[in-house]
Symmetry: C2
């Protein structure tokens, strides 16, 4: 591999330097740990080696369709033992954003998204509307028919929603346009993602784009590359970000997230980004390191 | 009414000057001629007076859900006699765009939108996929399940679609991302519209925003405020645009469309824009004239 931009390929020497200088590894999941429903080769040994060396491990994922609890189950089903508090999903970030900004408990949250967002919001004590429950509802475009929405909705949270429909779009749009001060929160804005092993599908960026299009407003983004989640990690670890390394497969979310926060960054090619993408003259996001797959960290050490 | 920006309210004197200098009136429909399914007061007399004075009349609408034929029916149902060739809808504009740019006949067009787009495309001789037919389809996010799309799709046309679903979003996204050279055409980008009498609903801008979010591409817009439709009007009338007046209820589509083309412009307050919106210091789109309703043209003449 050639050097691309300011990035360097991992070699045995640089892996040693990386492990010596980093105390916490932040991993993206999809395209790094797994792809769709398949574990990526060598991941268990690599995580084991990192834990054996006393490194802290966190999984930071933009996928909002699952809650941390559901994620822990997915890890277990793939043979990885991961605790809920090692998982930071954008669904959790949305709930934490409302909590830390003292969102009034008497106000409701309308959700355009899946189960994960609802579960995290409810766990944090918020009252939710929408989500999967509105998946089969139809908007009736009839004369003299008024589409009613709840005036006590104070925030609309938008994430990936494979059951998106015009009803939900109208509900969310009405809340944002008509309820005074209503917040518009996006879990993330990934254009596409590997929802299945074989191909990419529209991501939260698609659904968020729809609401931007109807409201002409920009959302508060709580997932990567926004640094909102980093505040929690900093509080949790009490470590300077220079001692953290973000490992991901996306330049514009993972690597940018790591760089925005001052972390070291490592790009892997098991997900959406290729070496050619990295080398593209139009690309201006350059990780500190890049390598084929996460397990190179393990293999290059010669263990 | 006070003067706002560079705009002037219509008065008997200015109406006379307007009628003397203008030979063709371009009317937006929704919020100008009708609101939802209700004809706006005084419209028939006004159109009749304009026709009696030999003025040419055209209806230019961004609503893509109907074809020109379906529009003519709507006019008739409201008691207005309008011929199909007086109607320029964004559904027709999409078909004309493909025709004038010599879109290859052997390629297909995928439609995220309603019946009007399909009808106009088929009338122009193009082969279409999608539209209402895909309204009940569900995308299956299962491992090892490949969502197949037609590799001969060479254009995706996106308009308002009240039956939007994740299947259509994935289909359109795949075509734009994976079919080499595939065009991405938007009928228009209106954020909201009066789909019913009582309230506004997400417009084509919502659906277009979704596809922008998943493809990270910007569409070719054929409806207002793009001047694409104006080329047809110019060819049809052989009139300088300075002898045309665009009458509409929206600053960022109708009035901007008129101004982009060099027409005179008249804003009416029977639709989405209020006098306060016009006066807002943040507004930088100022029509030549504004008035309460279309029939002021008739009434101010004292006829």
């Amino acid at each position: 591999m050639e050097c691309s931009g300011e990035s360097r390929a991992l070699f045995p020497g640089s892996v040693k330097a990386l492990l010596d200088s980093v105390e916490a590894f932040l991993f993206d999941c999809d395209g790094v740990i797994w792809k769709g429903d398949k574990l990526i080769e060598g991941v268990p040994q690599t995580l084991e080696m990192l834990r054996a060396r006393g490194k802290k491990i966190v999984f930071v994922t933009n996928n909002s369709t699952k809650s941390r609890k559901q994620y822990a189950k997915k890890f277990h089903s793939l043979g990885l033992v991961v605790s809920e508090d090692e998982i930071f999903s954008s669904s959790f970030a949305a709930a934490m954003f409302l909590k830390t900004t003292d969102f009034p408990r008497e106000k409701k949250v309308y959700v355009i998204g899946e189960e994960g967002i609802l579960e995290e919001l409810q766990l944090a004590g918020f009252t939710c509307l929408g989500g999967p429950e509105d998946g089969d509802k139809r908007a009736q475009l009839k004369p003299n028919c008024l589409f009613e929405h709840d005036a006590t909705v104070g925030a609309v949270v938008v994430g990936l929603d494979q059951y998106i429909n015009y009803y939900k779009l109208q509900y969310g749009t009405l809340c944002i346009r008509e309820n005074p001060g209503c917040l518009y929160i996006a879990t993330n804005r990934d254009a596409v993602g590997h929802m299945t092993d074989l191909q990419e599908w529209p991501g939260a960026g698609c659904i968020v784009g729809a609401i931007c299009g109807s409201t002409k407003k920009e959302p508060i983004v709580v997932g990567k590359p926004s640094t909102f989640m980093m505040d929690f990690l900093l509080q949790k670890f009490q470590l300077p970000t220079s001692k953290m390394c973000m490992v991901g497969d996306r330049l514009d979310t993972d690597i940018l997230f790591g760089q925005n926060a001052g972390c070291k960054t490592l790009l892997v090619f098991t997900g959406v980004t290729t070496l050619s993408d990295l080398q593209d003259p139009l690309n201006n996001i350059h990780p500190d390191y890049y390598t084929s797959k996460v397990s190179d960290i393990f293999e290059l050490l010669g263990q």
